[in-house]
Symmetry: C2
Subunit: 250 residues, 2 copies
Amino acid sequence: MALLDTVVMRGLTIQGVLSPEDKALLLGLELNPRHISASEELWQERADADLFCVVKKGWAYSYRNLRNGSKQILKFYLPGDIIGMRDFGFTRRLSSAAMINNGVIYTFSYQQLFELFGRSSLAVGILATAMRQQALLSERLIYLGQYAAHERLAHFLYEIYLRLKRIDAVQDNSFLMPLTQQLISDALGMSPVHVSRTFSMLREEGLVIRDRQHVNLPDPEALARLVEFNDSYIDECLPLTFSELLKASP
Amino acid sequence: MALLDTVVMRGLTIQGVLSPEDKALLLGLELNPRHISASEELWQERADADLFCVVKKGWAYSYRNLRNGSKQILKFYLPGDIIGMRDFGFTRRLSSAAMINNGVIYTFSYQQLFELFGRSSLAVGILATAMRQQALLSERLIYLGQYAAHERLAHFLYEIYLRLKRIDAVQDNSFLMPLTQQLISDALGMSPVHVSRTFSMLREEGLVIRDRQHVNLPDPEALARLVEFNDSYIDECLPLTFSELLKASP
DNA sequence: TAAATGACTTAACGTATGTTATGGATAATG
DNA sequence: CATTATCCATAACATACGTTAAGTCATTTA
């Protein structure tokens, strides 16, 4: 019932691509229906990520509480939607989730999902990559939604800095960034003129020194303090539980 | 070399969870290095989605051109990043992609990715679900970045409308939406007061009638025309090529 | 029934950001 | 070398949106 009710599984079923064994697998999953009352939390940010749910009844949403007191909602979940796939491939939740009104959900452990993959480490790795990309995207969404121009630009530069550092393209806190201010403005949802203004601001505060494509961050940690940087989404390792499972399998 | 260079594969390798066969599989992939010059396009929105790439050298970006002449950049790609996973599970590209400076990429067909999954239809289905979720998120990012309040709200309402229609929760263009304006404001990145103002605007234009949780869209198509609604990301079927492949396999 | 609470509307005012314009520096082109 | 285009900085002005506040209506609680 439950997992088969979800949108994609329905798509697969309709097209007849699910083998009888696959269907049996899905139908054989343990069903744990939970009744949740309005505004009750399913989990909090940073909690252990070990399960996902299918909404049977009611609306839910996932969100991030921000330092400045505001919050950004990432998604509303309607009946049939899957909550919590986002965190597959991470050890901890990247966002909180809560019911909006009274409802019913079915929960499934990541381990069950894992077994659906036939313990193929490649498939798991690819899904985890995809989820990490999504985490980057979510982070940008949060910044577009909730922060002012200078915070968005600071966050952007710090993200680029971290990603370049991972591939050894940063030396002495300097790196090459082949982007025009026009491109940056198209990414951050602001006008090119305001990107220029904002760069000037950051320069005056001694946070960013830039000459054409050469960018220097005199004090990256100061930038990181200015923005609310969630470094967990950069982390590149699969949860330990996964590697244990994979190693244990034939 | 190429796929193994990517971030997650590196993670898997380090943790020793990739079996020798998996590694052989990855190493055995055909390598098609392509030299791409600055600002050359990799593909355009709505082109056939049949491959993804790994960036070896240079920067690239994916973006959407919008009706109002602006564009929203979804992501910058640095060496080691994978471009084009986003569209796995769709028949056509949801966004364009282009190089920023001169560079080199390796291309892989979705078919190759497909075979890495051992043709497990479940694994493919789950990845496709995940990619569809990501598409929804991208769409929201685009709206947060580029559109004014009334367009964001209109887009939001139309998305909810479509999603509810799919689960038969719309009757006579009316549905129940258990959201406060506070929640909507947290989702759309605007103040609750401005959500109210914007609802008034849409009401005066005869686009949205609302009484508490009851929402009526007298003319959904008019709403859809107001916003630039990309309905391809709602479509729930796997590309036909995939189901053919799956059916053909044992 | 009265009081209190929460959701919403509308108004007044302030501000961050968009828009348009101009000039200067650098790079590309003939 | 001259010319042209591109990128960037800064200024003046316009506006969409945030903030604060006050008032209405419905719902809950006493």
